[in-house]
């Protein structure tokens, strides 16, 4: 009786496109929210739905989205990474510093993200092997990385070499940050869905003990998640610096909170075991669309903060409700 249902082809493969879209919407409340917000913005100001403005939104979302993809890996594994903003700044300053020493700019392009990965790895080792709570370990890294950024730069901006600055330019009408964001999105989705590492993150976040008792190398995987988050932060830092053509020691300050907000709006659970790259991308876009739309409507930056806060609470609240109903 049950055998013929289990051996029949899975329903998803036979579903029509329309059914698949409605299933996607039902599964992803944030996407519905994004569409609703976009529609509202369009009605409020038609200027919103111009190609130029949409590219602008994408460009604004890019840095937070890239940070958030890295944070998604950590949050899925039931951790948190508060250090990504500082690590992004540290990486950018590191890249600029390498270039300033006269070494080839390409080395800076690689060196910054590697520096970010090392910072992430340190947090990861502290969490996985040192058994520090992830909140504490990455809070410490937030401070250490920001401090090192100021030490290296002496508190002054560092010019970025052309080998990095193209990251902030445009290819045709499309800003490169958007392309970087999409590439990082694809990598994150691939890692989470297809790799042993990614699947293990869900198991570890969902039930640490069950993962350990099944023989998964929990510590190694955990440390690697933070290292990747640091690497992503490094790339985000370069994109940010490239747009300004210089690395600012105070860059990306509090961006970690936007990144976490994007992940959570995207439907991830801070308790771990749940979260998707698509959700995070949508979450980052939601934040960018709201900021952009409110700017177009000339709402003051002070009020924008209030609105963003409400949106976070609303998004997560709706998600909780939806889950309880289903």
């Amino acid at each position: 009786m049950s055998s013929d249902t289990t051996t029949s082809p899975p329903r998803a493969e036979t579903r029509s496109t329309r059914q698949r879209i409605s299933a996607l919407l039902a599964e992803n409340g944030a996407l519905v929210g994004l569409l609703v917000i976009c529609l509202a913005m369009f009605i409020a100001t038609p200027e919103f739905l111009t190609a130029r403005n949409l590219l602008n939104v994408g460009n604004q979302a890019a840095v937070v989205a890239i940070l958030a993809f890295g944070v998604t890996l950590v949050i899925v594994a039931a951790g948190i990474d508060l250090s990504v903003g500082s690590v992004a700044a540290l990486s950018a300053i590191g890249s600029g510093w390498i270039a300033a020493t006269g070494l080839p700019g390409v080395l800076g392009l690689v060196g910054g993200p590697v520096l970010g990965m090392l910072a992430g790895l340190v947090s990861g080792l502290a969490v996985a092997y040192g058994r520090l709570p992830s909140f504490i370990a990455t809070l410490a890294m937030l401070s250490v990385a920001r401090g090192l950024t100021l030490v290296i730069s002496g508190g002054r901006p560092v010019l970025m070499p052309p080998e990095i600055n193209w990251l902030g330019a445009e290819i045709g009408p499309v800003p490169v940050p958007i392309l970087v964001m999409l590439v990082m999105f694809a990598i994150t989705a691939f890692v989470l869905n297809r790799t042993v590492f990614g699947r293990s993150l869900y198991a570890i976040g969902g039930n640490h003990e069950a993962a350990r008792l099944s023989g998964l190398p929990v510590k190694r995987i955990t440390a690697r998640a933070y290292a990747l988050s640091g690497l992503f932060a490094g790339i985000a830092g370069l994109v940010l610096a490239a747009r300004l053509e210089s690395a600012q020691p105070q860059a990306a300050d509090t961006y970690e909170l936007d990144a976490i907000a994007a992940v959570v709006i995207g439907g991830a659970s801070l308790a771990g075991g749940r979260g998707k790259a698509t959700g995070t991308l949508v979450g980052a876009l939601v934040l960018a669309v709201i900021r952009n739309g409110l700017n177009l409507l000339n709402v003051s930056a002070f009020w924008q903060q209030v609105v963003i806060g409400l949106v976070i609470a609303l998004a997560v609240g709706a998600d909780v409700l939806r889950r309880r109903v289903s």
Binding site: T6, A203, A211, R212
Partner: protein, 501 residues
């Protein structure tokens, strides 16, 4: 019994989405009686007691308390009717003390501050009522699960419950602890407390129950006296006869597959040595705290041990390394399915594939298609009831969840299985299926080490029984000589002074 019943449910009905959880069920509980609820997992017992506890309201049907029709929309209302529920998942705060837990939600106050003296008095009084001796200032987390359960019962009784609902209260208790609990229940009965009692152990129902309501697939099947023959109860519950509860077929044994040599871990177990041969089921019996689980966890690489050696098929296995143990062919079904065995939010296929995820990968890529194919094969083979392996494993019934944990090791090709409470919280039908699974494992040359606090199970399914007491192997009994008395006399050997939990 001329007085109106304490509690009466009449034709209650409940749906969850498209699923009918309860269909016109009746239940009557009189004061001073124990009414047992019997049914396989998914039969609707939990839904029914959640109705009594005020967690769910019926879609249709009526509830009467003392003959008066009432609504129980929330737990506070249930409490006001004198209904207290002991859920399977305990409602205690692990980091707080026994006294704080017992008075939780009604902490005695003086001038807005906690009145510690009064709190201790109430708590001590509650513990005295059930004859439980634990330190009031210990945290609940430091107590064993059996004592935690008793604390929970003490807490319920301290609010003067007239109706106590107990959802599988004996699942985690040893036979001595169970007997102790039953004495408490009997004395409550004499004081006029009515009880609804859920258990999978038919002998317990006869021991403490007065009448039994049997549910199957959400429907009322029958109400019979609690001393009805077990075979009748099983037939009512499963809908068919079960010939043998312990269908053990022992094949000829072969070479030793698992050898444990003088394994010691400070404060947990000492100089434990034994071996399990191909085709053999060795049972580990003993009281809670005797070290059964600890030994199993050490063998499986979950916990470290100080000295000694574990060998599988003659080759030593590195200690404190689960993945080394898994590669050596050890599979571990831990005692707590939900906390240690499964990732409840993940799908059936993900859970089945957890131990084989990296072994079947191509480079860093998980073999998702292969994992799904193998998951489907093993769900068919083990008759895991799910229409789709992509469904969250948490949506399955207890027995099917447990089969998923087994299936994981089947997929990993584990030849040495360590089973810790393999049928805890599993209904009779699934139990027999799990025993049959053990048969097929051993007939294929597998070796099984089984630890269980359910003595009949250990005796019924093991070819040889090792009895642990105080962290040591107190004795070994071939299955022919292993009786409850023989096991118990070894189990209580020399442990009293060290055990004052």
């Amino acid at each position: 019994m001329t007085a109106s019943p304490l509690l009466q449910l009449s034709g209650v009905h409940k749906r969850f989405g498209g699923i009918k959880a309860l269909d016109r069920v009746d239940l009557t509980v009189h004061a001073g009686t124990v009414h047992a609820l019997l049914g396989e997992n998914g039969a609707g017992k939990s839904t029914l007691i959640k109705m009594i506890a005020g967690v769910h309201e019926p879609d249709a049907g009526e509830i009467f308390v003392d003959g008066v029709p009432v609504r129980i929309p929330d737990t506070a209302t249930a409490e006001s009717f004198g209904i207290a529920t002991i859920h399977q998942e305990l409602n205690l705060v692990p980091s707080m003390t026994v006294a704080e837990n017992i008075t939780l939600g009604r902490t005695p106050r003086r001038l807005g501050l906690v009145n510690r003296g009064e709190m201790r008095r109430i708590a001590q009084d509650a513990l005295d009522r059930i004859g439980l001796r634990v330190d009031l200032d210990r945290t609940v987390a430091s107590l064993g699960i059996a004592h935690q359960q008793l604390v929970e019962i003490a807490k319920a009784l301290s609010v003067d419950a007239r109706l106590l609902v107990l959802d599988e209260p004996t699942a985690a208790l040893t036979s001595t602890e169970t007997e102790h609990l039953f004495e408490i229940l009997r004395s409550l009965k004499d004081r006029g407390v009515g009880m609804v009692f859920i258990s999978h152990h038919l002998d317990e129902i006869a021991a403490v129950g007065d009448s039994v309501t049997v549910l199957r697939d959400g429907s009322f099947v029958d109400e019979v006296p609690a001393d009805a023959p077990e075979s009748q109860l099983v037939r009512l519950m499963v809908g068919r006869g079960i010939e043998k509860l312990y269908p053990r077929r022992a094949p000829a044994t072969g070479r030793p597959r698992l050898e444990v040599r003088e394994l010691s871990s400070q404060g947990r177990f000492d100089e434990v040595s034994f071996s399990v041969r191909a085709g053999e089921v060795v049972g580990l019996a003993g009281l809670i705290g005797a070290g059964r689980t600890e030994v199993l966890r050490a063998i499986s690489g979950v916990d470290k041990y100080d000295t000694g050696q574990v060998l599988v098929d003659g080759a030593p296995v590195r200690g404190q390394d689960v993945s080394a143990a898994v590669s050596a062919g050890i599979g571990h079904v831990p005692e707590d399915r939900k906390e240690q065995g499964l990732v409840l939010d993940l799908s059936v296929e993900d859970n089945l594939g957890l131990a084989t995820l990296s072994r079947t990968s191509r480079g860093p890529l998980a073999d998702l298609r292969g994992q799904r194919r193998r998951a489907r094969e093993v769900t068919d083979q083990l008759q895991i009831k799910t229409d789709d392996v992509r469904r969250p494993v948490g949506s399955l019934s207890g027995g099917n969840q447990q089969k998923v944990v087994f299936g994981r090791w089947l997929l990993a090709g584990s030849g040495v299985l360590l089973l810790d409470e393999p049928t805890r919280g599993v209904d009779v039908g699934s139990k027999v299926e799990i025993y049959e699974l053990i048969n097929s494992l051993t007939s294929n040359g597998g070796a099984v080490l089984l630890a269980s606090s359910e003595l009949p199970e250990v005796l019924g399914i093991s070819d040889r029984v090792l009895v642990m007491a105080g962290g040591r192997v107190a004795g070994e009994l071939p299955s022919a000589e292993a009786t409850q008395d023989a096991v118990m006399s070894l189990a209580v050997k020399e442990v009293e002074p060290t055990h004052v939990q």
